[in-house]
Symmetry: C2
Subunit: 391 residues, 2 copies
């Protein structure tokens, strides 16, 4: 795992070091907040009798995902073959590759299946099902296929009421390859408040249940019904008929989730440490060394009721500085101002003063970094988790 060794070989962060000794920019994980987020999902699912299959695309770090399984491994969802390969190397042996398969990628998937990993892939067109079925060798018990179902017009998936879904099931079941159905309620990210999210979760559940019902009525097996997104997983009132739940961002949370009421800004476990590098008294702003390279270009809160700019500021200790946001970003420069345009007092923030920025979108901000610096309850370095990227 060459990517894993890379970040660890950097010698500049010592276990136990106080936050004041860390280089900036750096991607921080507040372990206490992450633990609380993980416990919240665990409580939600306790006794539901479902498989929980966290999505690793947010963290892209086996060290983070092991915490969801009490230090061990378990079933996971991935968005790239590289995630599949690196998590398989890290001992995760049950993997759902949840982006529509391209037949050209089947050899790589089969290599993982041949190595003993239970691989699940998805597709949403009968033609792809036929192409895939023709290329999976008989007797390859480690590779099964789910039909992706569209529950909310968000992106991909076959219509739960359509003929294509049944054709997919038939083509795959004829070869013993069909494992069931999955959906992702991406539209839930536009719902605001528990009531709206719960309604969307029911739409997701009902759509998937209907797909399973039609397949079974056609005499096809449908053992797996897999749904999930952080909002719908946390707010669903019923999971009846579902066998599996997926979620990714819940372990860190972010400002987009806070903006729709899934969490509070204080629950966000991920932040970017930065330094003050300048002042713009004419604009009432200060300049920090977290630009879009450290924060990402994600502006997911722009369309929400509270626009957080490129992120919400905290002190170096993590205390949220309400209404102070990154109003503009160049590559290595972040312009920090008050949300209402009133001036920031430059005397509070001399050159070299340190701050943190909470991310709009944990997946996007994480992707700008190759490691997490994990802080313990005292704000000292508990661990460094390497993070990979690429495909």
């Amino acid at each position: 795992m060459y990517e894993m060794k890379m970040a660890l070989s950097e010698p500049d962060i010592a276990p136990g070091a106080p936050i004041a000794a860390l280089p900036a920019p750096a991607l921080l994980v507040d372990r206490a907040k992450m633990d609380a987020n993980v416990a919240r999902m665990r409580d939600k699912l306790a006794g539901a009798g479902m498989v929980f299959r966290p999505h690793v695309k947010t963290a892209k770090a086996p060290d983070a995902i092991r915490l969801l399984f009490d230090g061990g491994t378990g079933p996971v969802t991935v968005s790239t073959l590289k995630e599949a390969r690196l998590f398989a190397e890290a001992g995760f042996a049950d993997i759902l590759y949840a982006v529509g398969i391209v037949p050209a990628r089947l050899d790589a998937v089969l290599a993982l299946a041949d190595s003993g990993v239970a691989m699940r892939i998805i597709l949403d067109e009968p033609e792809t099902a036929a192409a895939v079925a023709a290329r999976i060798p008989a007797g390859q018990a480690n590779l099964r296929v789910l039909a992706e179902v569209d529950c909310d017009g968000h992106r991909s998936g076959a219509d739960p009421e359509g003929e294509a879904l049944l054709r997919i099931g038939e083509v795959l079941a004829a070869r013993g390859l069909f494992a069931g159905v999955m959906t992702h309620a991406g539209g839930s990210y536009q719902c605001v408040g528990a009531e709206a999210i719960a309604g969307h979760a029911e739409r997701e559940r009902a759509g998937l249940a209907r797909a399973g019902e039609r397949l079974r009525a056609a005499g096809l097996p449908c053992p797996v019904l897999s749904m999930g997104s952080t909002p719908t997983a946390l707010f669903a009132r019923s999971l009846a008929g579902m066998t599996e739940l997926r979620a990714g961002v819940y372990m860190f949370q972010d400002l987009v989730m806070a903006g729709i009421g899934v969490c509070a800004p204080q629950d966000i476990a991920l932040s970017v440490l930065c330094s003050v590098i300048g002042h713009r008294p004419s604009a009432g702003q200060i300049v920090v060394d977290a630009g879009w390279m450290a924060l990402s270009r994600d502006r997911g809160t722009a369309a929400q009721a509270v626009d957080q700019g490129y992120g919400l500021l905290c002190g170096e200790d993590g205390a949220v500085l309400d209404d102070m946001i990154v109003v503009g970003a160049n590559q290595e420069h972040g312009l920090v101002g008050m949300r209402d345009g009133s001036p920031v007092d430059p005397a509070r923030f001399p050159i070299g003063a340190r701050l943190r920025v909470l991310p709009n979108h944990a997946c996007a901000t994480g992707a700008q970094h190759d490691r997490y610096v994990v802080l313990d309850h005292a704000g000292c370095v508990a661990a460094v988790w390497p993070r990979f990227s690429g495909w």
Copy 2:
């Protein structure tokens, strides 16, 4: 250079391979287009008698920057200490670190200077100048300081007409550390057309010249006057009084540059190879496996006359498909539609068909990848250039 070795260790791309054999997503460099972009800047500067100091923050790849120096090395501009370290390791021995210095970073800068690299740093406040001057050992000839000047209210820098500029010069010159002035006309990215950009370039030049004039009138030395941005470097009518020019994105170009008339979309040397993974007939769209993870979240063309979404589509051969853009992006899904909302013909783009996406912002899209796959004139792999990230 551990980062450099990483991408090279991936075995999946063979020199001479045709584009059809490449994995996707992949970041491609069209070498013929890059060569033309490099030649254009060289022609512009021929006979100007100035130091050209390209900014490496766009490419972050020594293999790319060597092409600007006929295969050798030369003076460069960096935006992070990591760029400074890795370019120094690659033999680049004259480095301007063009983000306002934080005193906490001086030890790292001094280590580079001690190793024999001519380091230049920048700052824009007298207090920082005093803090820096106090920490640079007497006799350290490899570290000099430039005052950053604000020519257009874009971001950082001292007022060329202000007292702070003179105080900075005095504090540094008293210790023999003052090397001159620099500015970055970031506001030029909002100018449209040759006339407007040339006007902004003159504002940049005049502001910097004025700063130099005032410093010299105060009896201070000002050997370096360094200006630059891709638009102003290419369109300036006069560089009188300037000693140095900087530019970064010009070597690749991008859609933001095309949108202000700096280049045409056909000149853009950088693109993201992707595959069709789905169809959305109800929306008249197709789905590709280049989402924001491969393209970045940059929407720099959103405020321009022609909004290119998350990027403009080309065929696998690089021919621009006018008006076909990435209209939406999830992490690993790009939604492709026509700019006017008319439907894309799904029959033209079966599952597995391959396309390329031209980037809004070369720096941001590049940052999502850890290597460039360089294509020769025949569209086959000429080289793989590792690309690093981080600080």
